[in-house]
Every structure is written in C-alpha cells, then in structure tokens.
C-alpha cells in the first residue's frame, strides 16, 4: 500500500487513529439515533426523543454524559479485574473490526492481505468479553447470558464464515480491497456498467451472512444472551455508568462494522459505477457511497430486530445446523463448480 499523501509512517498513523476515533463513536451515535431511537419509535407509533437538540438528535450524547456521571459499582463478589476488563475487550473487538474496512482506494486504516479472515477472527473476540462479563459479575443472570452468548457462537460462527467463503472463492482473494475490485471489474453477462455486486451471484450467501450477523450482533430474533425479559439484560446486568456505556457503544459500533462488511462483500463496497477503480476522487466520494449502503444494510438489521420476537437458544442451534450450514456448504460447492467451469 502506498503512503497516504506521501506522509511519514507516524504522521499517517496518527491521522488514521484520529479519524478512527472520530468515525467509530459517530457511527455508533448515528445508528443509535436513526434506528434504535427514531425508527423504533416510529415503528411503534411513538415519537422518540424530540427535545434534546434538533429532532432529539443529541439525545444519545446527553445519555452518554448521564452514564459518565453515574457511580461505578462493582458487585461485592465480583472478580474485579476481569469485571473491569470485559467491556474493554468487547469494545476493542469492535474497534479492531474498523481497521480493515475500506472506504476508498487509499482510505483504509490497514489494507491487510487476509482482511476478511482478520475481520471474522476479531469479531468473535467480543464473545470472549461477554463471557468474561458474565462470569466475573458473580450473578446467575449474567452467567446465563454469558453462557448463552458462548453457546450461540457455536451456532452462528460457522455459517457466517461459510457464507463469506463463497465470496472469497468468487473474488479469488481474502483482501477486502480485492473483493471490491472483483465486484467493480466484474461483468453481468458482458454488461459491466455497474460491475458485478456479489449480492447477485451470492444471494444465498448474503442471506446467510445477514442472518448470522444478526446472531453475532445479538439483535432481536437471536438476542438470547441479552434477553431483557428473562435475564434482565444478561451479561451486562451488573454494569453501571460508563462500563455499560462501553457495552452499548460496542453493540452499535459492531452493527455498523458488520453492515460495512456486508456492503464491501455483497453490495460493491465504495466503488461508484463509471469511475476508475483507482481514481483519487473516490477517496472522498467512496466514504459517502459506503455510508449510504451501510445505512441501508443497518436499516435491514434493525428492521428485523424491531419486528420479530426472540427465539429460544435451541431453536437457533437447530436452525443454524440444519438449515444455514447445509445451505452455505451447498453454496460453496455450487460457487466452486461455477468458478472452475466458467
């Protein structure tokens, strides 16, 4: 990868770090406000926040300030060190996800050769943090939530990765930039104007990826680890103040990152039809296009969240092992055959 604007490594890293520190909380705030607060309210015939800022848009910032003011409580029986580390692990997992997300030809924090592999590996770290939180809280509800998260991992992680495999086979690369390039330079039966977004050829993969991502993000049909009505919040029952805020931010930021991954792998990423793949202007326009696509994907994620009731843990296992995994395996086989034949 060439240096951005010819800067020294340290300067480039500092700029990237600054941008990431602005982008990630902003992304979490945006998704939280647009979907968690406003869209959910409208879907329930409510207004949502209206008073803080224009149309209530600063509500989440006010909430964050409120959380920061709250007392930081440790349960007496808690394993204090692990208890404190858990939300940081969860948040770190979602921060690390942002490292590989490409938003333009050069606008990427680090263009790893095994980008998608890295993303999948790092995203499952959050379950470790959840398990730590559940175990260290010394609370049976929290423990149940943590164990449910760990059990859920067995169900969704495999279809998630198998769904990605189809894309990787078709794009010939694990590098996210190369996946975008494969879509940009692809053709649909000789018609190359809009490239070949993999949602067309990998539609089953897209469905499986979205369903598994829903489980990974513990969004509602698969929110058994949180399960407010039975576990009163699951792994984060005992958390207050800014540690709870970290969990909340990680949840929404990971939703954003996964929407971005889906965008990169299935919707053509940051590339705009009609532009050269390496056109420098795409470093500016790319993030905008990317954001629009991410919002569409996130809309679907939250739409599903606000519509369906919660499944049981065993129903998710049954669904994942009996439907999603065979389907994704078949998808890989068919993709491989086409790859070899064509």
């Amino acid at each position: 990868m060439t240096g951005l604007l010819g800067l020294a490594y340290w300067a480039e890293t500092a700029i990237k770090l600054g941008v990431a520190l602005v982008v990630i909380p902003t992304a979490a705030l945006m998704l939280g406000y647009l979907f968690l607060l406003k869209m959910m309210a409208f879907m329930q015939s409510r207004l949502g926040p209206t008073d803080v800022g224009p149309y209530g848009s600063l509500q989440l910032i006010a909430d964050a300030v409120k959380f920061l003011q709250k007392e930081d409580i440790h349960p007496a029986a808690a394993d204090r060190r692990v208890f404190r580390a858990a939300p940081v692990v969860v948040l770190a997992s979602s921060f690390l996800l942002f490292v590989v997300l490409p938003t333009g030809p050069d606008a990427v924090v680090e263009n790893l050769d095994t980008g998608i592999f890295y993303a999948m590996a790092v995203s499952s770290l959050s379950v470790l943090g959840v398990l730590m939180a559940g175990w260290a809280s010394a609370n049976k509800y929290a423990l149940l939530g943590g164990l449910r998260a760990a059990g859920q991992l067995i169900a969704y992680e495999l279809p998630l990765i198998l769904a990605v495999m189809g894309v990787v086979i078709q794009a010939d690369s694990l590098n996210l930039q190369e996946i975008v390039r494969a879509q940009a330079e692809g053709e649909i039966f000789g018609f190359g104007l809009i490239g070949n977004p993999f949602i067309l050829t990998q539609f089953i993969g897209f469905l499986i990826f979205m369903i598994s991502a829903q489980a990974e993000l513990t969004q509602t049909p698969f929110d058994m680890p949180v399960a407010e009505t039975e576990l009163v919040g699951g792994f984060h029952v005992e958390y207050t103040g800014f540690r709870f805020l970290l969990f909340f931010m990680a949840e929404v930021a990971t939703a954003f990152a996964f929407s971005a991954l889906a965008t990169v792998m299935f919707l053509g990423g940051w590339w705009i039809p009609g532009f050269d793949f390496d056109a420098p202007i795409l470093n500016v326009l790319g993030p905008v296009v990317m954001l629009a696509k991410i919002l569409v994907v996130a809309f679907i994620i939250f739409w599903i969240r606000f519509t369906y009731p919660r499944l049981r843990e065993d129903q998710l296992q049954k669904f994942a092992w009996k439907v999603l995994i065979p389907l994704s395996l078949a998808n890989i086989v068919v993709t491989g055959i086409f790859k070899v034949v064509l």
């Binding site: 409208f42 879907m43 015939s45 207004l47 519509t307 369906y308 439907v323």
Partner: protein
C-alpha cells in the same frame, strides 16, 4: 422451520406502522413528515392526557363519612394510612332518642410515598369515605410532602368524577359520590365545633368503633 410468508408479513406490519407514523398526511402533502400527528405519543409537560374517570390517580377522603373505624388502615398492604380519632356526644337522631356517641377523625394521613395504589382501602371502606380520583399531578421535591393529611385528602374530593354505571344492572355495586348537600348525615366535626362534650380517650374510641363497624 420458520414460516416465510408470515415473516415477510411481519416486516410489512412494522414498515407500514413506521410509514403511517412518519407520513400521516394524505393527498398532496403525503410526503411531508409529520410524526407529531401520526404518533400516539402525548407530549406530557406540553399537553396533558385526560385520564379515564376511573383512573387510579389519588385517593380522596370524604371526611364527614369517616368513622375512624380503621378498616382501611388495617387492610392496607403497605401500612401507609394513619388514623387517629376520638368520640363525641351527639344529640339523638329523633326526639326522645338516646344521646348518640359518634367518632371524629383527628388525623387521617395517607403516605403516597408508600402507597402502591391497590385500592383495597377504597374497597373495604363501609361508609363510603374513600374515593379514587383520576388526578395524578402531585409530585413533590421532598418525599415527606407526599404524606397527605386529612385537609389535603379532602381537597381531592372535588376532583372525584361522578361515575357512570359499569353496565345495566350494576347500579347496586356502584358507590355513589356523595353530594355535599345539607342532608348529609352525621356532620360530627360540626357538632364538636358547637361544643359537644368529649367522651372516652382517643385510642379507646377508635378501637370501639372499629369493632362496632365489624358487627
């Protein structure tokens, strides 16, 4: 296996609700978002919700009817009703009758910091002295001020609405809201003001009346 048509239908329901909330206007102005009209939200401090007549907002005391029998206080799950009373002599109801002794309430407090609005006190009162009022705005900066004394509880009486019957034939069960007319029975406090002689000590009076009410 999930039922796919049903799943899609569910997505349609939430999407339609969101659309109806955000774009309630019809005709030319369909695309102007107006969630204020489309939603069912009542923006409370700015506009007030009209609670139904039977809403359990606050409990009002019709003091003239109260005999300090303590039934409400004893049946309260939270022990949030405090009653003290004493007996006074009252003139006979008709000429030639015996001198009656009636109870006067000295203290009747409800601690709304403790009250859980179960309404058992209203149910058990055999003398129609307690009523539900739909009034709900009585929050206080200090928790001690949530203890409403008999003066405050009597003031709530003005907000008790006249109830409609539940349904035809239910008239027997409906408690009538007392009118404050002159023929209201036993204005005990007025008697006391006229200088009627006090009888037993306050605690004795309360206990006797409680047993009297039970028989």
């Amino acid at each position: 296996m999930p039922q796919f048509p049903g799943l899609l239908k569910g997505l349609g329901v939430t999407a339609r609700t969101a659309a109806r909330t955000l774009f309630p206007k019809r005709g030319m102005r369909t695309l102007i978002p107006a969630p204020q009209q489309g939603s069912v939200t009542v923006q409370y401090p700015h506009e007030k919700e009209a609670p139904p007549d039977r809403a359990r907002g606050v409990i009002a005391l019709h003091e003239e009817n109260c005999t300090a029998c303590m039934l409400c206080s004893r049946s309260c799950p939270d022990w949030c009703i405090y009653i003290e009373g004493h007996k006074v002599k009252a003139p006979p109801r008709r000429a030639g009758g015996a001198v009656r002794s009636v109870n006067v309430v000295d203290r009747f407090d409800i601690d709304y910091a403790l009250c859980m609005y179960c309404g058992i006190c209203v149910e058990v009162c055999p003398f129609d002295a307690l009523f539900w009022s739909p009034e709900y705005e009585y929050s206080e900066p200090h928790i001690a001020d949530l203890l409403h004394d008999r003066i405050r509880l009597s003031e709530w009486m003005e907000t008790v609405p006249a109830f409609e019957d539940y349904e035809p034939g239910s008239e027997q069960k409906v408690r009538q809201v007392p009118d404050f007319g002159p023929d209201d029975f036993a204005p005990a406090r007025k008697l006391e003001a006229d200088g009627a002689r006090e009888l037993a000590s306050e605690s004795d009076g309360a206990r006797e009346l409680a047993s009297g009410a039970g028989s």
